[in-house]
Symmetry: C2
């Protein structure tokens, strides 16, 4: 079994952090399945998330460990955590606290803009807000 | 308006590629909403995805541009593309071709293993397969 096959089949978590020591984590709403955000965890954030069941991330802009909702109240209780085939991405299903908005802009999801698809989009694609 | 506020509010796509020239892209099943995979696009992959409506990625391991499903048949037709607040992550809703499996391991989703949560998970968390 090659190294990558071992990672795909094994039943131990062996997270593959990138060169910056981070792993991407997709957060989805446990109730609706809506994708809320993509953030990053370092080893410590992942350890705390697993142990406490609350989402901890590493803020790349502020360069600090961060418990989601610590200031905003929009906490994320982890109902389920999954890891992908090559163990370099995580998926968490969360219950959002506070007013239920996961995005710091006040939107429920960070993905509040659609990208216009098609040939005419060459160069600068247009965005549109949520309907 | 600060630079980051402009990125959050503007209605032009201004993707924030990382130091490696990549942007993370979450692919979900357009029908069920299930998260299928997390992959990366470079500028060319993103341009082709927008123009053709087929998912193109950059393979970090093979270091090549890659149309999803080109060899496996498990193509991804993009029904909708979204970008997040700070424009450093994409979300695509896709119709999967072929046998409907998005993962190269033969699973429908790359996220086929759950991570055991809780205090007992200190050190090495256990994984379990899909039910």
């Amino acid at each position: 079994m090659s190294g990558s096959e071992a990672i795909e089949h094994k039943l131990n978590l062996t997270p593959q952090f990138d060169a910056s020591g981070l792993i991407a984590c997709i957060a989805v709403d446990a109730g609706t399945g809506e994708v809320l955000m993509l953030a990053y965890m370092n080893e410590e954030a992942l350890r705390r998330s697993i142990e406490t069941g609350q989402a901890w991330y590493w803020s790349r802009s502020r360069r600090e460990l961060w418990r989601k909702g610590a200031t905003s109240g929009q906490t994320q209780r982890i109902v389920e955590m999954r890891v992908d085939c090559d163990q370099d991405a995580l998926l968490i299903k969360v219950e959002v606290g506070g007013d239920g908005r996961a995005c710091h802009t006040g939107q429920r999801s960070c993905f509040y803009r659609k990208v216009t698809l098609g040939q005419g989009s060459r160069g600068r694609a247009a965005l549109s807000m949520n309907d």
